[in-house]
Amino acid sequence: MRKSPGKRTNWHDPLHIGWPLWVVSGSAVFFLIVPVLLLVPMSFGSAEIIEFPPTKFCLDQYSKFFTHPGWQSAVLNSLQVASLTSVAATILGLMASIALVWGRFKGKGFITGFILSPMIVPLIVLGLAYYVFLAKLGLIGTKLGLVIAYTPLTLPFAVLPISATLRGFDRSLEYAALNLGANRFQTFMKITLPIIRPGVMTGALFAFMIAFDEVVIALFICGSGAVTLPKKMWDVIRYEIEPMLPAISTLLLLLAVFFLVSIGLLQRRLARRMEIR
């Protein structure tokens, strides 16, 4: 914030932010972050009863979480499903982004809308749809079923960062490679992909995040065979009192911090690569 002029005139610095705006925006940031942060001290409390503020300091919740076979398998299922989904969505999304950003063909606007539409179809509708669809295929309660349901859902989240990256990519580099005798595939693998890779990885991370956190579709299709972490958390929040939820929440908060830092680093690396031309 720049210093506003000492003498109040009709002239006003557009960068000036009055104190009411600081109060409101500061409270908004507080509102966004603090409720979740309250879970951190609670996670070091008792693993037998939920108490706030916690009366003792221990790691019981964490040790209980990491040794419980049910939670372990839920975490593993979620990791596997989210990784596979992310790979599938990123490959499909990269190819689609190239066409949508650089290509010119009939119906491009419509196709773009179609590819991004899984973002806005209500999850409950998808849950119902996949329940019927996967039941026909006998894939209810399987990880494959979850990957099938999550790939379209995460596709837009991979496409958006990847296409933003492609728009910033200088294609004259490709023309140079083509002129020097490389074929299109070589050009893509040796020139384009290495430069845009941080953008592609951002897309992959976003797809992973969405798949790792999805619960509404999971309620319908994970059955008892492929219970994911969010589904297990849902059951616990909804139907039981589970004192180790603060510990799980704290771990997921750390995961979010990890995502944030990774995406920040990827974006910085991408900016550097785009500058060096």
């Binding site: 914030m1 806005i120 179809v121 509708v125 002129n179 958390m233 929040i237 997921l252």
Partner: protein, 292 residues
């Protein structure tokens, strides 16, 4: 990989450039058609056959007062959360645009972090904050401001708070990105010409940020209409939205055709708004105003 339709090498290949690009996008299209559009079409069909063609589920939905009320609640909560997140998101974006880089980065990090934290964790944290013996009631009692705990959870207040918390980033980022493209010298010019601060805001800054407001608000409204998690966890019996009713129809009552009909109605409303959006704003702007 085949791309690029303009270089001289491009013309020597047999495939037309447009077709080559179409081939690149086709795996995604096939995947979406088979694994997304087809499953949805199954429930659309299910909603009108029982087992013969019938519209009875739709008629039942639109004539039963219970469902009219649920529709009304759904719209009411969606409008409320869109408005609250719009106001908060707009102020955040406005401050972000004008703050110096240090504070801007802290604020941006906070909004992004909140956006990336698991939805369930965020809702769970609100349960602990709002419940009878939750953080807010403990604090207010401690300071002697209330004698009896306030009822903040399992009512409309809880749902709106929880959903606003989730939607603020979705609305702040599109507005922020539109504002970043705005030349602040225009404001100086307006003031130079004699406009007051309010006039400058309402006649210059605000109209210029309208595309961001439109993009963010429509996205949030669409998402709110079909929201499930927050009304289920933070709402009471009266705040159950249409998504929650669909789940109850399936899980508790096993009434598939009726649940399918409700899903179809929700889907059609959502898609109509989305197509209007895509037509006028471009679907790519859904996210941070990034244009493909």
């Amino acid at each position: 990989m085949k791309r690029n339709g303009t270089s001289s090498t491009g013309r020597t290949l047999a495939l037309k450039p447009g077709l080559r690009y179409f081939l690149l996008v086709s795996p995604a299209l096939v995947a979406l058609l088979l694994l997304f559009a087809y499953p949805i079409s199954i429930i659309l069909i299910k909603s009108v056959f029982d087992p013969q063609f019938t519209l009875k589920h739709y008629i039942y939905f639109f004539t039963n007062s219970l469902y009219i009320r649920v529709m009304w609640i759904t719209i009411e909560i969606s409008v409320l959360t869109t408005l609250t997140s719009l106001v908060v998101g707009y102020i955040l974006a406005y401050v972000l645009r004008r703050a110096r880089p240090g504070i801007r980065n802290i604020f941006l990090m906070a909004i992004l972090l909140s956006f990336m934290i698991s939805l369930l964790v965020r809702n769970y944290s609100w349960i602990l904050v709002l419940q009878r013996n939750g953080a807010i009631n403990i604090l207010l009692t401690y300071f002697g401001l209330i004698d009896h705990p306030l009822k903040l959870l399992h009512n409309k207040f809880g749902v709106v708070v929880g959903m606003t918390h989730i939607f603020i980033p979705y609305i702040a980022f599109p507005i922020y990105s539109v504002m970043m493209g705005m030349d602040l010298n225009l404001e100086k010019a307006a003031q130079n010409l004699g406009a007051t601060r309010w006039q400058t805001f309402w006649r210059v800054s605000f109209p210029l940020s309208l595309p961001g407001i439109g993009a963010g608000a429509l996205l949030v409204f669409i998402m709110a209409l079909g929201f499930f998690i927050t009304p289920a966890l933070l709402g009471g019996r009266k705040e159950q939205m249409i998504s929650n009713l669909i789940q109850i129809q399936v899980v508790d009552l096993l009434n598939w055709p009726f649940a399918s009909a409700m899903s179809a109605i929700l889907l059609v409303v959502t898609l109509i708004i989305f197509f209007i959006y895509n037509r006028y704003l471009g679907a790519e702007r859904l996210w941070g105003g990034v244009k493909i």
